[in-house]
Amino acid sequence: MKTIRHALLIARKDLALELRTKESLNAAGAFAIVILVLFSFAFEETEQIKEIGGGLLWLVFAFAGALIFNRSFARELPNDCLDTLLASPLSPASLVTGKALANFVMLLAMELISIVIFGIFFNVNWTRHIGELSLVFALGTWGISILGAVFGALTVNLRLRELMLPIIIYPLLVPLLIAAIELTKLLLSNQSMTPNDFLWTKLLIVFDVVFTALAMLLADTILVN
């Protein structure tokens, strides 16, 4: 319970900071829009776009997410804020979970902007299955956010931090991206989910649960020297 309360405090701090500076959101949002514009040159606005739309969107989210995750722990480096946070009564697990929560909210905001722009640019009505789509986005985004927070912490003191994070995180995200892409593709094509498609939802849940548990278990190892 204390961990959750502390995690919420960290998330609130990060979101307040982000609302003031808007450095991660501006960068990630601008990046997402540029990528979507570039996709419009690469792919025709046809029925085919509904088939590949899920893939395009999740690639945009994963790439733009890296910009948010790189900043999540790096913003604590000036003035030794990270050391202060670690010396405080906060547990490393609550710090990582709090950062993941803040990442989650920022990434969801960026995803909302991206899908609206995607709908306009590619003439796709994404609102027909908005309930299921929101569930897929929430589950997928939590998985990306928790891994982003863990590996943001793991790479925060490394040389070439910005380069290391994508090299490590993208291969690990493969199962989550496959499931999220499959489900988004299905929902954008206006098809209902069959029992077979629930396998992908289960995979998203398993991924989220396993990596959240692992992140909380290893937070101490990753953050405390």
Binding site: N157, P171, P175, L218, T221, I222
Partner: protein, 229 residues
Amino acid sequence: MREKIAIGTAAAAAALLANNLYQMFMVLPDEALQGAIYRILFFHAPAALVGMIGYFVALTFSILYLSSKNFLHDSLAASVVEVSLVFSVVNLVTGSIWARVIWGIWWTWDARLTSALVCVLIFFGYLVMRRAIEEPTQRARLSSALCIFGCVDVVIVYKSIDWFRTQHPGPVLDFRTGGGKMDPAMAHIFWLNFLAILLVAVALVLVRTRQESTAREIDSLRRLAHTAA
């Protein structure tokens, strides 16, 4: 002592490999449907098995490092990942050559090919990250954490891509099928070659562990000299 074990293991691997190569090329006939190319299986599948076993051995050493803080466990984990990565690449390359002859293509985004490639990418990231950390304690600690994440992910990757798409031939080995899919003479050479490749991997791990330990000693001496200066 460790050097003698490495040399002994390498010598045993070389003798076994020589025998296996003779059996494969001079004794065993061509396969009825695939012709001569089927012999690549004797290297392709053992390399995959050795690679996979290696990742989970590295996971064990990583957990051991985190509980004991003994640098030998870290050196062993890093060496095992490095050697396993080599065998995983051998697995991909030999599979690709086989696919070119039998399927007419070098690569397809099939479940096992994709999961093998993702596995290589995950552990390539592990090695890249190790190179980026100079402080030995930090390197061992973070590498162990990444190895644990990587191994857990490998299991999920395998399952997820298996649902996604499959083209790879089904299992042929007796322990997966219950027998009857592979000629006993071929299965015999297969397992002998698995043993030979496993011995090569063990010899390489022993050599790499020694190099890792020496590198860490040199590094700590350099740091000591820096501090003294």
